[in-house]
Amino acid sequence: MDLTLSESELAFQAEVRAWLAANVPAEPLPSMDTAEGWALHQEWEAKLAAERLSVVSWPRDVGGREASLIEWIIFEEEYYRAGAPGRVSQNGIFLLAPIIFDHGTPEQQARFLPSMATGETIWAQAWSEPEAGSDLASLRSTATRDDERGGWVLNGQKTWSSRATYAHWGFGLFRSDPNSAKHAGLTYYLFPLDAEGVTVRPIAQLDGEAGFAEIFFDDVFVPDADVLGAVGAGWNVAMSTAGNERGLSLRSPGRFCAAADRLVDLWKTNGDAAPQARDAVVDAWIGAQAYRLFTWGTVTRLADGGEMGAAGSINKVFWSELDIQLHETGLDLLGADAELLETPWMDGFVFSLSGPIYAGTNEIQRNIIAERILGLPREPKGLSNKEVAR
């Protein structure tokens, strides 16, 4: 065991730190879920991309600098420590891009990745449906073959799609074989959100901002060139994204370490007025350190060719609960000022509340941990689509 960084890793860290110190906006940008904030976040992405800092781990020809996993963690640590803006491109660069690298054609890679790296095209994930949440494989939106035009016609409804209000493209799963059983017969499609037949209806979240949206599909044509992976293989293709979301890429330790450090600062100024928060401050800080060290373990394993697998579920439950704990404690330290909107703590708190819900709820993650990691007996099987329909 050895956590020292190499010369080149230290040099990379210094470069990133210096660049962020010189370039991170002094004032936080307005929320990305407003028209004004959206534009400013896109500009920020372009600025990062000009330094090849938007997607450090990607190949050079699509905007990256081929950084290692370790360098990626270093980048994230510096990024959050510097208080840099949230990543409006997140769903594309972290959730979709790995799938395009693994399953996309060279043509798709060349077409989609560069504009994702610069933030010019922002992507929204369209998986959930009104009747298909945790039980995603019960989804009902359809894709019908159109041989004449050489493609597919999408119909149905998606919902809770983050950033879809302003995003440019979507990626989602549709049932391409109406006679198929649950997980079979699904296909992964990419589509512009301004295509004919697409209607996006923003949904205000807990804090009133339109952070996600419903998407309606009314005979939307998608050419074969925009099918990702094999027809009918959508479930397996999509599940490789789910692992990314739960595991490492969505929630790097830098985020929690930076928030824990801010919490400690808040304790220094407000602790006298809220001494009962002492243990919670300490536990939040220890939790962030535990997450950081755990992540180095994961990185070591992945660098040796290991896979994330079901361990991603352990990761997901931990970070999502830690995030709430961190922000609840911050609010406790603010006393009666906790309800004020002008502090970053309420913002972070409201956001943290969604962590145990998205990316697979924590109940589903606990099922996965119990069954796949501890080897406990499976749940009795749920109903098939046809049985549900009856």
Binding site: M1, C257, I286, F294
Partner: protein, 297 residues
């Protein structure tokens, strides 16, 4: 950058495990608790022959020259296999080149000397003796003992934390095995979500406690952080393990009880959670730099 055990370290852990299992360490522990320490002394000698008590003594002084990571590896196994005797004192606090069984008090963290009825008290005068909830531990009051330096105390705390992780792992493993076998209402109890989710929480807690133990061994975090999380995780394992076993888990005869009581005892030995939280607070309020959150999904 590499945050995982070497093959040598996992091999070392396996060697200790094999030795303890072949010696029937649980039977040894029960005898020790009943006052018959002969088999315990025999197992102690065999483990000492592996080099356990001299593990962190530098090579030039005749020891094994092991690191604190090696120490944590060994103590996790000692917790898992329910070792008896003053290991924390003889291998971590005051490592013994010749494998001798020694003990000491180190107030305020360890106000009593463990196992002074069989081990040599390093300094001070032995007073009254008390029973522990962990029947394998006998606690003796000590007056006028010499103090230990911070590094020695930190090693003891680290060893205690590692032992807690090992004990928690054992309780989880035995409980999972039980939940797969025990049937009620015609189904294995482990197929019920109320059971699954509790056990999943134990898996999570232990998986995040262990990196803190090794991180503390590397100096990345204070040992107090590891002790706090390790005792919380082990306590969760113990509470859950008891609940999932039902009444059988509440009996002295069933071996689970030995680990439950060990976890209760080690949770406050070598510094209570409140003491260690205080130490962590002192550490972070003197070092933490600022940042600010940036959040999206």
């Amino acid at each position: 950058m590499k945050f995982e055990l070497t093959d040598e370290q996992t091999g070392f852990a396996e060697a200790i495990t094999d030795l303890m299992r072949s010696a029937d360490s649980v039977v040894v522990a029960r005898a020790w608790a009943a006052g018959d320490t002969a088999s315990g002394a025999g197992l102690w000698k065999r483990l000492a022959d592996l080099g356990l008590t001299a593990l962190v003594v530098p090579e030039e002084d005749g020891g094994l020259g092991g690191t604190l990571v090696d120490l944590a590896v060994a103590f996790e196994v000692l917790g898992h296999e329910l070792a008896v005797g003053p290991w924390i004192e003889s291998a971590a606090l005051a490592p013994q080149l010749e494998g001798e069984m020694v003990t000491a008090a180190a107030a305020p963290l360890a106000p009593y000397a463990a196992d002074a009825q069989v081990a040599r008290l390093l300094s001070g005068t032995a007073g009254a003796t008390h029973a522990s909830i962990d029947t394998t531990r006998t606690l003796t009051e000590v007056s006028g003992g010499d103090p230990f330096d911070d590094a020695a105390i930190d090693r003891a705390v680290l060893a205690c934390a590692a032992q807690l992780v090992g004990a928690g792992e054992r309780v989880l493993a035995d409980t999972v095995t039980y939940a797969k076998q025990r049937k009620q209402f015609g189904r294995e109890i482990g197929s019920y979500q109320a059971i699954k989710h509790q056990l999943a929480d134990v898996r999570i807690a232990l998986d995040f406690a262990r990196p803190l133990v090794f991180g503390a061994a590397l100096g990345e975090v204070p040992v107090s952080a590891a002790k706090v999380y390790a005792s919380d995780a082990a306590n969760l394992a113990a509470r859950t393990g008891l609940q999932v076993h039902g009444a059988i888990g509440y009996t002295a005869e069933f071996d689970l009880s030995l680990w439950l009581n060990r976890i209760r005892a080690l949770g406050t030995a070598w510094g209570t959670p409140a003491f260690h939280r205080g130490r962590v607070l002192a550490h972070i309020t003197s070092t933490a730099p600022a940042g600010s959150p940036a959040e999206v999904i």
